[in-house]
Subunit: 196 residues, 2 copies
DNA sequence: AAGAAACATCCTACTAGTAGGTAGAATAGG
DNA sequence: CCTATTCTACCTACTAGTAGGATGTTTCTT
């Protein structure tokens, strides 16, 4: 393996992630990545033969990072509320400093009907995985009486997922990064309120 | 004006709306519309010179329908809760029967950074308008003690907008149209609960 | 250790197909 | 006749993807 090889693939992956977050799957081209990484188009095809391969690699990487981070968080002894706060906090920072103004899975999720079959499957898999994590956290929070919500953890998971991705969308549509933070804070406040 | 003229423009507009909802702005082409309407590409350019013009027309039309419908609803004497229910019900039906699986403004909102300047402005304007309507409804609902929420109507508006658009996204990502209905019902239940 | 085969990376140059958009003629209806 | 509409035919720029060569890196063999 040439020393520069892995590094280049990583740069391509990151450029693709940024482009997908900002313009979507059909909104970017290999030429865009070539410019961002300062490499020729053909070299991108060497690392990721097709655009679908590239998108799948981005999703797989994104999911690996998510799984690793959440496992580490749990291993560190963080309770349900702390895990939720950490997750929201991550996105608050990413959106505020524009380093990741939208979840790559959310963007691809919106485009789902337009995606190649195998990319769409990877996106669906990401959401199922995320769903499971969130449901487990809510379940644990309910059991320990740390989080309070009417109905099941399953149904609250759907509410919270909608709220998170919708807040990203609304923040973008309104050109107001602070909107995400406000919605996130309010939803945590709601979940920690004994009444509801 | 030739009799078929307006009708054709309408068909193009509707085809464009469907394509934007399903594939996004960068996910459709004049060729797609030409096929859907059974017309030649050049004829579309006669009615809508550029793609941006077409997208703007779709947004303007969408907003007109929204304003008209909401004004009629209010004129019919519907209270805040009834207005909210009507709005949610509309989307529940559209998503369930796949006649409109995603709000056209939501799709364009997600793509906002990739849109031509003038299209982006029209989308932002739509969201400001929608925001105002929702805030007024919530304000009225709070005053009449029909709706209950912590915090201001402004902040609850942000929550609800996020929930609505996020539920569309989540329903699509999970391939589960029922998800929208569930989230919508739960959020109305939450707003009508005296406690919270 | 030296040399050769094998491989990985990146390049230039190209393909076929599609994008949005235009020019100008044919065809209508009032 | 005039104007709106639609068409065929075309343009340029860009799309994803390929062919094949240059350069360097490992690895295998002796």
């Amino acid at each position: 393996m040439t020393s520069s090889g892995e590094a280049t693939a990583g740069k391509i992956l990151e450029a693709a992630r940024q482009l997908i977050m900002r313009r979507g799957y059909s909104g970017f081209s290999y030429a865009d990545i070539a410019e961002a990484v300062d490499i020729r188009k053909a070299s991108i095809h060497h690392h990721f033969p097709t655009k679908a391969d590239l998108a799948i690699a981005v999703m797989k990487h994104h999911r690996e990072i998510f799984d690793t981070d959440m496992a580490a968080l749990q291993a560190s002894g963080a309770d349900a509320l702390a895990q939720l706060r950490a997750y929201f906090g991550h996105w608050e920072r990413c959106i505020a400093d524009d380093s990741a103004p939208f979840c790559v899975a959310g963007m691809l999720g919106a485009e789902l009907p337009a995606l190649p079959e195998d990319v769409a499957q990877e996106v669906s898999a990401y959401f199922r995985n995320f769903d499971k994590w969130l449901e487990d956290v809510l379940e644990e929070g309910a059991k320990s009486h740390q989080l309070h919500f009417k109905g099941t953890a399953k149904s609250e998971t759907k509410m919270l997922i909608s709220l998170i991705y919708g807040a990203m969308l609304a923040a973008r549509a309104h050109g107001d990064p602070g909107l995400f933070k406000e919605v996130a804070s309010n939803s945590i406040a709601q979940l920690t309120r004994a009444s509801s």
